[in-house]
C-alpha cells in the first residue's frame, strides 16, 4: 500500500515514542500514561507507520524508548464544545494530518480544530489517547 502524502487514512497506524517513565502495567498489559502524549502546542507528534516500513524502532526519539501505536480512526473523534452553562455551542474535531519534516518524512500531527479553549480539553484528549493505544515496541535498557 502506497500512503497518500497528503492524507492519513483511517486504517493507518501511528507511532509515538514513549519514554520509560511514562509506562505502567495494567492487568498485565504495558500501557503509556496520558502525559506521554503531551505537547506544549497541543499538537501531538506521531509518525506514520507505513512511511517507516512499519518498523517501530525507527520511531524512537530517545535511546531505548518504547513505541505506542494508535489507529488513525480512533484518534479522529469529535468533542462537544460547551459554554460555561454546559450548552453545546460547537464541536472540536480531532484530526491527524501529515506534516513531513526534512529529517522525518513520516511526521504527522494530531490536533484539534478549532484550538482548544481550556487546557482541560487537551488533557482529556491525552487521556483518551492513553486509553486507546497499544505498546508495539518494548523499552530497552533506559
Amino acid at each position: 500500500m502506497v500512503p497518500d502524502p497528503d492524507h492519513v487514512a483511517d486504517d493507518e497506524e501511528l507511532y509515538r515514542s514513549i519514554k520509560q517513565e511514562f509506562l505502567t502495567t495494567e492487568d498485565g498489559v504495558l500501557r503509556a500514561r496520558s502525559e506521554a502524549f503531551g505537547d506544549r502546542e497541543q499538537q501531538v507528534s506521531v509518525d506514520r507507520a507505513l512511511l517507516l516500513d512499519k518498523d517501530p524502532r525507527r520511531a524512537r526519539r530517545t535511546e531505548g524508548a518504547a513505541v505506542a501505536c494508535l489507529l488513525a480512526s480512533a484518534v479522529r473523534i469529535k468533542i462537544p464544545q460547551r459554554d460555561v452553562k454546559g450548552r453545546e455551542v460547537g464541536t472540536y474535531v480531532i484530526d491527524v494530518i501529515p506534516e513531513p519534516r526534512p529529517d522525518n518524512p513520516a511526521h504527522a500531527v494530531i490536533y484539534a480544530n478549532p484550538d482548544f479553549v481550556s487546557p482541560n480539553h487537551f488533557r482529556k484528549l491525552r487521556e483518551h489517547l492513553a486509553r486507546t493505544h497499544q505498546i508495539v515496541l518494548l523499552p530497552e535498557g533506559e
Binding site: S34, E35, R40, E41, R61, N120, R123
Partner: protein, 178 residues
C-alpha cells in the same frame, strides 16, 4: 513569588511550608518523622499499626522527593518539546500532596502512592490509577486542576474541575478509592 490567579488562598498556604532562598529556588521544610513509641510485642495490633503508618509516611516522603527531583528536568526532557517543570508548581504540588496525606490519615482512609511526572507545558502532574479509574492532578502557577476518567469517552467518561480545596480533595479521594 509570582501573582496567583484566583485570589491569595494558595499564596498564603504555600508560605506556611515554603521559603525562598536568596538564589531564587524554593525548598520545602519537610515534616520530620515523629518518634514512635513502639509496642514491645512485635505481633501486637498496635505495633502493626505503627509499622503501617511508618510505611505510609515513607511512601509520602519518597513521592515528595520524586517531585523535587523533576524540577531538574531540562527543555525537551520527554524526547519532544516539553518545557522544564515550573518551580512554583513544584512547591504547590508538594504542599497539596502533604495536605492530602494528612487528610487521608486523619480520616483513616487508604493511602495510594501517585505517579509523579511533569507535563509538556511545565506543570507538575500527579496521577493515580485504580483500574478503571484514573485521577490526574495538574499543578501550575495558575491552577490546581483535576481530570478523572473511567473510560475512553471524553464526554461521558471523563470529568474535570478544580482540585484546590480540601472538600474537592476529599471528594476525589473517595471517588478514587471507592
Amino acid at each position: 513569588m509570582p501573582a496567583v490567579k484566583g485570589g491569595t488562598r494558595r499564596f498564603e498556604r504555600s508560605t506556611v511550608n515554603a521559603t525562598r532562598t536568596s538564589v531564587g529556588s524554593y525548598f520545602v521544610i519537610a515534616e520530620p518523622f515523629q518518634e514512635v513509641d513502639w509496642s514491645p510485642d512485635p505481633e501486637s495490633p498496635a505495633r502493626q499499626e505503627d509499622l503501617e503508618r511508618a510505611h505510609r509516611k515513607a511512601s509520602l516522603l519518597a513521592t515528595l522527593l520524586r517531585i523535587r527531583l523533576i524540577q531538574h528536568r531540562e527543555e525537551g526532557w520527554n524526547g519532544y518539546d516539553a518545557l522544564p517543570p515550573d518551580r512554583d508548581a513544584v512547591v504547590y504540588a508538594m504542599t497539596w500532596l502533604r495536605e492530602l496525606f494528612r487528610e487521608v490519615e486523619d480520616a483513616g482512609l487508604t493511602w495510594l502512592q501517585p505517579h509523579v511526572t511533569s507535563s509538556a507545558e511545565g506543570e507538575v502532574v500527579l496521577q493515580w490509577w485504580n483500574d478503571p479509574k484514573r485521577l490526574t492532578i495538574y499543578f501550575s502557577v495558575h491552577e490546581e486542576a483535576y481530570i478523572k476518567s473511567w473510560g475512553t469517552d471524553i464526554e461521558t467518561e471523563m470529568e474535570d474541575g478544580d482540585a484546590a480545596s480540601a472538600t474537592n480533595r476529599a471528594r476525589l479521594w473517595e471517588w478514587l478509592t471507592s
